[in-house]
């Protein structure tokens, strides 16, 4: 397989167990470079568990994960960040007492070279120049996400929609090749959702990032995704273009609801399960 064909990310037979709970069962998929890939499924289907396996917060019980062809299954999250995986969280995970600017600068961590010694000697070791150079790039991200007016505000004091945007800015600051967005539009109003969708498409098309998105808003998912994977009870039940997935009868049954005449079936199914 040539380098160009190597998928950005690949999961092979990933299973994840927490005691008696089977969060993921034998999930295999791959994400191509430059793709906008969505993972959907009902609540508790294992979407966030899957993203945690990609970002390294969970280690799969079985199976392997590959990033750019490299086996990263045993790698710590901070190591994966340095390789080029960035993410946002479903429940906000900003550094609440830091300013927005500092939050985003933390995202540059693996790109900055100074340590605590050279940092303490600020003026004499090039730490200052480095800070300023990265500040410039961070300002570009701030500009892109239109959060200039809050750059010096404490992150914990911002509104929900702004915090989501700051979190996205922080993930972008990592300069990742693969960015994982865990419900970027949850709890937003229509206008904020439209903005966020625009940012995600721009990230994918202009910034050239491969995007993995978990989202419940089917309208957005079907509009902007290139490919969609559907999980149900930790199993992959469908994968393909939005149209293909929408047409899949299993997806209809599991996730999007059913026609009236078929509604009698589920209780039976649950008894079997």
């Amino acid at each position: 397989m040539s380098a160009a064909d190597t998928p950005m990310f690949e999961a092979r037979g990933v299973s994840l167990r927490f005691g008696g709970v089977q969060a993921l069962t034998d999930v295999s998929f791959h994400i191509k470079k430059g793709e906008l890939f969505s993972i959907i499924g009902p609540n508790g289907a294992g979407k966030t568990s899957m993203v945690n396996c990609i970002s390294g917060r969970y280690r799969p019980t079985d199976g392997k994960v590959y990033f750019k062809g490299q086996d990263v299954t045993g790698m710590t999250p901070n190591h994966r960040a340095a390789l080029g995986i960035g993410r946002t969280f479903q429940n906000l995970a900003l550094f609440g007492h830091m300013t927005v600017l500092d939050n985003i600068m933390v995202g540059r961590h693996h790109l900055l070279k100074n340590n605590f010694l050279t940092g303490a000697l600020y003026w004499f070791t090039g730490a200052r120049q480095e800070e300023l150079a990265h500040r410039r790039e961070v300002e570009e991200i701030i500009d892109f996400l239109e959060i200039q007016h809050v750059r010096k505000a404490t992150a914990g004091t911002l509104s929900y929609g702004l915090r989501k945007r700051v979190e996205l800015a922080r993930a972008i600051a990592l300069k990742p090749d693969l960015i994982l967005l865990d419900e970027p539009m949850a709890g937003m109003n229509l206008e904020e959702k439209e903005d966020m969708a625009r940012y995600i498409v721009d990230l994918n098309e202009e910034w050239g990032m491969t995007v993995v998105m978990i989202e419940h808003d089917m309208g957005v998912v079907m509009d902007i995704s290139h490919r969609v994977m559907v999980l149900e009870f930790g199993k992959k039940i469908a994968e393909g273009s939005p149209e293909e997935v929408l047409a899949d009868p299993r997806v209809k049954r599991a996730y999007l609801g059913e026609d009236d005449e078929e509604e009698a079936a589920p209780p039976q199914k649950q008894e079997v399960a």
Binding site: N78, A81, F89, A93, F95, V106, H109, H110, Y122, L132
Partner: protein, 357 residues
């Protein structure tokens, strides 16, 4: 950030460099320089008693800043800080006595030695949190205290050890007036280093670990490394503070570095403000001056009904301890962000008067 409203109208920053200075405005920088200039002439008109207090604030303030980096900025806990302070004191005395290393060099070296010890005791920090970590550092306190008592070659055992006075190019800083400048220089340098650290990569990483360690890890921050490193930095500051203490008193006894002293350090940073650099100094000054205020209060009450009722002269010793305890409780309830935050509010009030916002 309360600071935003304090930047005067029309003071626009046009370069990133101007926007990342230590002091937000030129005026605040000038006031800080003025403050240091005033301190420079202090020995000329302060008596020995006050100079002694200032020197205490200096070396304790350095150690307190170290603890604040650990507790306030990184969100760890340590109740063994006094033991590191003591280790720094003995190391510096030992280095200059046993190897003839000049005191001026022995002090930073003592800091480095203490760093190594601090990082060893900081290793559990990578795995432990909260109360469990507190107990682990308590172990550090007792292990080191026991070591001081037994290691005659290092500490002189129960007899203690003498420490040479600080000297530079043959000039001995052996009086309070002279040593004041040594402490002042060390304090200014150490505080500037800490300020720089906190506005560069690793300082931000420490705060990130405190605020949300899971997402810090996702941002590429190695938690084990930074938690251990934080202990190292904190021990370095304690070591420098302790070494200055040793060469100021010119004698180190094994008895001083108790858990009570460790808790006083915690009191300093809580009163001063967790996660505030200048707060560490304010809290230290507060803790050092509080007994003096209590003494003055007692003196002014001499002969009054309160004096006779409470028998103040005899009771001053425990009243002082009670006052410190009471003040810590009052701070936790009414000003958990410490003196540094109160100071910001006073500045804002002054600046914005007669409006409240």
């Amino acid at each position: 950030m309360a600071n935003i409203s304090l930047i005067p109208c029309g003071d626009f920053k046009t370069t990133y460099g101007r926007d990342t200075t230590i002091f937000p405005t030129v005026t605040s920088r000038n006031f800080a320089i003025l403050g240091i200039l005033i301190l420079l002439v202090c020995p000329a008109f302060m008596d020995r008693y006050w100079l002694n207090l200032c020197i205490q604030i200096g070396y304790l303030g350095i150690a307190a800043l170290g603890l604040n980096i650990l507790v306030g900025f990184t969100g760890q806990i340590s109740i063994g800080h006094a033991a590191f302070f003591g280790f720094g004191a003995f190391s510096s005395a030992w280095l200059s006595n046993s190897f003839g290393i000049p005191v001026a060099l022995a002090i930073p070296l003592a800091g480095v030695m203490t760093t190594a010890v601090g990082m060893i005791f900081g290793l559990p920090a990578a795995r432990l949190k909260g109360l469990y970590l507190a107990i682990a550092t308590l172990a550090a306190q007792y292990i080191l205290q026991d070591f001081f008592g037994r290691a005659d070659w290092f500490t002189g055992g129960v007899a203690g050890t003498i420490a040479e006075p600080f000297s530079l190019f043959g000039f001995a800083f052996d009086t309070d007036e002279r040593f004041f400048y040594v402490v002042l220089v060390y304090m200014v340098v150490m505080y500037i280093l800490a300020t720089n650290l906190m506005r560069s990569r690793d300082g931000r990483a420490l705060v990130a670990v405190r605020d949300h360690y899971l997402s810090a890890e996702i941002m590429g921050i190695n938690l084990t490394k930074y938690r251990t490193m934080s202990f190292g930095i904190s021990a370095f500051y304690a070591g420098i503070g302790g070494a200055l203490y040793a060469h100021y008193l010119q004698f180190v006894s094994v008895e001083g570095f108790t858990i009570l002293f460790s808790i006083q350090f915690l009191g300093m940073i809580i009163i001063g403000g967790l996660g505030s650099i200048m707060g560490s100094l304010m809290g230290t000054a507060f803790m050092v001056l509080l007994p003096e205020v209590m003494q003055a209060l007692t003196n002014s009450l001499a002969g009054t009904a309160i004096d006779t009722a409470l028998n103040l002269k005899e009771a001053i010793a425990f009243l002082r301890e009670m006052a410190i305890g009471l003040v810590i409780i009052l701070f936790l309830v009414f000003e958990p962000d410490g003196l540094a935050h109160r100071w910001k509010q006073i500045k804002a009030y002054w600046k914005l008067y007669p409006f409240s916002h």
